[in-house]
């Protein structure tokens, strides 16, 4: 069963059941099916052909979810782009995927409209399609011979050269993931799943597709909800959310907010709390049972390229959980290896490089060959195994533990960030003769990003100007938290490269650790 088959089943079996809640709005399965059908017909009328990659440039909303299903019904692949993204990232994605059609809500401001026009992208208002298309055809099951290898979604991660990398997720990838999610958490039609993550985040597959597969209801949290812990708790309680999935920092926000307001916002209906994306702070681990007195807690590990691969269920007494939490045990549909630098499996207790494979793994990154034809590049895979660049070990308790990275990629607030990408942008400002971006562990957000810079002589720098400069060229989550200006040459290693370790010490002594 592919994702669309689940929608058809739910629309036939329980047409009046609420599929999506967003603010005051409710959408039934029948409406979701019919409205997505209208947009799909509209797309076909515009000349969209099966296999095309269609971008969605909208904040999370009912219309955005309807649009995702419409794109899948058109046998196309959806490419979510956050309207928050700096323009350089938007164009990177548009070029990468050869986007011809981009679905927007209603109208864009003149400036953005012009930018898309100059990029030769047709912007299509999903709202207008809904208003102008009158016919809906009867739903049909996925066409015979529907291919599991057809791309369904492309999600973009931070790339090593500043160009975002688009992981191509297939119909089969989603189908396998959805059936795992249903059995792992016993999802059924009575469940209400919170959709906390933005649509361009792989966490959203769980809320969007597993909910429909279980004929359950998904509750969309908008950016205005997710930034305010009180509103979140109220949303969860008012709509009867039973399954919470988010990055750890969202739970940390609830915990910290409680200590600010000194009145716990208890969410008693939630039966499962899933967190994924980065290390969970101990303080949050210890405090979440107060917020969710009736829930089980799961730490989930994975990446966009593979989706979830490991899971750890916390014991009933969360204080008995190891610190830091383990990644846990491998999921049933995933194979993994932990290898040394020669590719040989290491023994338990020894650190090694984690490789994973399985049916939820992407077919590759989207790219263009020399003739400008789309190709899938899976050079990150060796013998069918994706190289996570994570250093892990398996310990006596049978769990896999995370120890660090093999590259410059860090996690902050649940986002994967390549420090090289930030260095590139700071170089391009032309103000510095030396640039080093590093991170320091942070209890609440995982990592803080620190930029240590030596300005060109004569140049005076303001942190404010740099923040604003970075905000124009980097995604918000990649803007360094702190800047330090060094008037002296940055320390070098024996090979003449900037020594990040010594730079970190320079920064620490400067801020007085």
């Amino acid at each position: 069963m592919m994702v669309l088959d689940y929608l058809n089943l739910a629309a036939e079996a329980t047409p009046d059941k609420t599929a999506i809640i967003c603010g005051e709005q409710r959408l039934s399965y029948k409406q979701l099916d019919q409205l997505s059908e209208k947009i799909s017909i509209g797309l076909k009328n515009l000349g969209v052909v099966p296999g095309e990659k269609i971008a969605i440039y909208m904040d999370k909303s009912l219309l955005a979810v309807i649009s995702i299903y419409a794109i899948l019904k058109t046998e196309c692949c959806y490419v979510p782009i956050s309207p928050d993204s700096p323009w350089s990232r938007v164009t990177g994605i548009l070029n990468n995927c050869v986007i011809q059609h981009l679905l927007i809500d209603d109208q864009l401001n003149h400036e953005t409209q012009t930018l898309f026009h100059n990029a030769k992208v047709n912007t299509v208002s999903a709202r207008q399609l809904l208003e102008t298309i009158n016919t809906t055809r009867q739903s049909v099951l996925t066409r015979p011979g529907a291919n599991g290898t057809d791309p369904a979604a492309i999600l973009h991660t931070s790339g090593s050269t500043g160009v975002p990398k688009g992981a191509v997720i297939t119909q089969k990838n989603l189908a396998v993931f959805v059936s795992w999610a249903i059995s792992a958490f016993d999802l059924d039609a009575d469940d209400r799943l919170l959709s906390h993550a933005p649509l361009q985040f792989d966490l959203s597959f769980f809320d969007l597709f597993a909910a429909v597969a279980a004929s359950a209801t998904v509750v969309l949290a908008t950016p205005a909800d997710t930034v305010n812990a009180s509103r979140m708790a109220q949303l969860v309680n008012d709509t009867g959310v039973t399954i919470w999935q988010s990055v750890p920092s969202a739970l940390t926000l609830q915990v910290v907010s409680n200590s600010t307001y000194k009145q716990p916002e208890i969410m008693p209906n939630v039966r499962c709390v899933l967190f994924a994306g980065e290390r969970m702070p101990r303080q949050t681990v210890l405090n979440i049972p107060t917020l969710f007195p009736n829930a089980d807690f799961y730490n989930i590990y994975g990446c966009t390229e593979t989706n979830n691969t490991f899971m750890y269920q916390l014991p009933a007494d969360v204080s008995k959980a190891p610190d830091p939490l383990p990644l846990g045990k491998v999921l049933p549909h995933i194979q993994h290896r932990i290898v040394d630098e020669y590719g040989v499996n290491v023994s338990p207790g020894t650190k090694g490089h984690l490789l994973v494979a399985g049916e939820t793994m992407m077919i590759g990154y989207i790219g263009l060959d020399e003739a400008g034809i789309s190709i899938y590049n899976n050079s990150n895979c060796i013998n069918g195994f994706y190289q996570t660049n994570d250093i892990v070990s398996v310990e006596n308790d049978g769990n896999v533990y995370f120890h660090g990275r093999l590259d410059n990629v860090i996690k902050s607030n649940g986002y994967r960030i390549n420090l090289m990408e930030i260095e590139d942008q700071l170089w391009q400002s032309g103000k510095f003769v030396e640039v080093a971006v590093l991170c320091e562990a942070d209890d609440l957000i995982g990592n803080r990003i620190i930029a240590v810079l030596r300005p060109e002589s004569e140049h005076t720098c303001s942190v404010l100007d740099l923040k604003i400069y970075c905000a124009q060229t980097l995604p918000k989550y990649a803007i360094p938290h702190s800047f330090y200006f060094s008037s002296t040459v940055l320390p070098k290693s024996s090979t003449g490269k900037i020594d990040k370790h010594q730079v970190a010490q320079l920064w620490q002594s400067a801020v007085g650790y």
């Binding site: 205005a224 997710t226 957000i445």
Partner: protein, 85 residues
């Protein structure tokens, strides 16, 4: 120092680690869009306002719209700060 200056000074010190930039922060600069303040940062601002400026921020007022700029924050607390000053 008036209310707006105190808020500017707090943001320059806490979020930019640069008290020299107090006078430079435009009062209508969107602090969230510029990557200066995130959602946990909003909570720190609320804690500052409540502890240092003796105002009460209701949970429902804690939305980005009310806290997104120095101007917005000043406006949010102006009915209360007028009483105490």
């Amino acid at each position: 120092m008036n209310t707006q200056q105190r808020i500017s000074q707090y943001i320059a010190k806490e979020f930019l680690q640069d008290e020299g930039s107090v006078s430079e922060i435009p009062e209508d600069l969107n602090l969230l869009d510029a990557g200066i303040v995130d959602s946990l940062g909003l909570l720190r601002i609320v804690a500052f306002l409540e502890e240092e400026m003796q105002v009460v921020i209701e949970p429902e007022d804690m939305i980005p719209e009310n806290l997104k700029s120095i101007h917005a924050i000043t406006h949010l607390i102006s009915p209360q700060s007028a009483e105490v000053s």
